[in-house]
């Protein structure tokens, strides 16, 4: 019981990191060619002019090494992956610094 509570606590503490990793992993595992359930409420509401439309599919294609299709679906797919990876690394760096004792007054911009 205590183990589960600890896991839950870690989850809550690192909500954003869990979200990014889950998201990227999900996009890497699904096959973008098949029509599947869309998470986007804008998409389901019928809004077609969203400038970010297709990013999810684009990222998924890129993960499947379909670079040309990725750019066709959305040109900023790679950009999004880069940004998210950068953020994941930033968050992991924070966690590691926290574990090492962040009371050190060295100002290293995280």
């Amino acid at each position: 019981m205590n183990g589960f509570k600890k896991l839950y606590h870690i989850f809550i503490q690192n909500l954003e990191l869990v979200f990014w990793i889950t998201g990227l992993t999900y996009l890497a595992l699904i096959s973008p060619e098949q029509a599947h359930f869309s998470f986007c409420p804008l998409n389901q509401a019928g809004i077609s002019w969203c400038p970010g439309c297709g990013l999810g599919k684009s990222i998924s294609m890129f993960f499947h090494l379909n670079v040309v299709q990725s750019f066709k679906t959305h040109p900023l797919g790679v950009f999004a992956i880069g940004i998210i990876l950068f953020r994941i690394i930033q968050l992991i760096k924070n966690i590691r610094r926290e574990q090492n004792g962040k009371h050190l007054q060295l100002s290293s911009r995280a």
Partner: protein
């Protein structure tokens, strides 16, 4: 050890404990200096919450720009807050986001004070 409440009463929770610990060796003049500079540079968690809420109105990611996360801000802006999911996560997580930013600011300011 002087209580941080005397100089920065607006601090709460994690931020308060962190700053208290960071300036534990400071004398009064340093504390006043720190408080002055830190107060102008920190971002209030409430600001992050409110700007994240604006995401529901269509302009998402403003809070990320404020926290100097430009890439993330652009991503949010283009995707209406990652299909609103990102906005929701950030609303739950806003304190942590603010603390991440503020702790870096506090560290920098403390270093400046210590060196002068």
């Amino acid at each position: 050890m002087a209580n941080i409440y005397n100089y920065l009463p607006e601090l709460e929770g994690e931020e308060m404990m962190f700053v208290q610990n960071l300036v534990s060796g400071f004398d009064e003049q340093q504390l006043i200096q720190f408080a002055n500079i830190y107060r102008t540079r920190r971002k209030d968690p409430m600001l992050i919450l409110l700007t994240a809420l604006v995401g529901f109105l269509g302009i998402a990611g403003v809070h990320r720009f404020i926290l100097n996360q430009i890439g993330m801000g652009i991503l949010y802006l283009l995707t209406a807050g990652l299909c609103v999911i990102g906005t929701i996560i950030d609303l739950i997580n806003y304190r942590k986001l603010a603390f991440e930013y503020n702790s870096n600011v506090a560290r920098e300011v403390a270093m400046i004070i210590k060196r002068s």
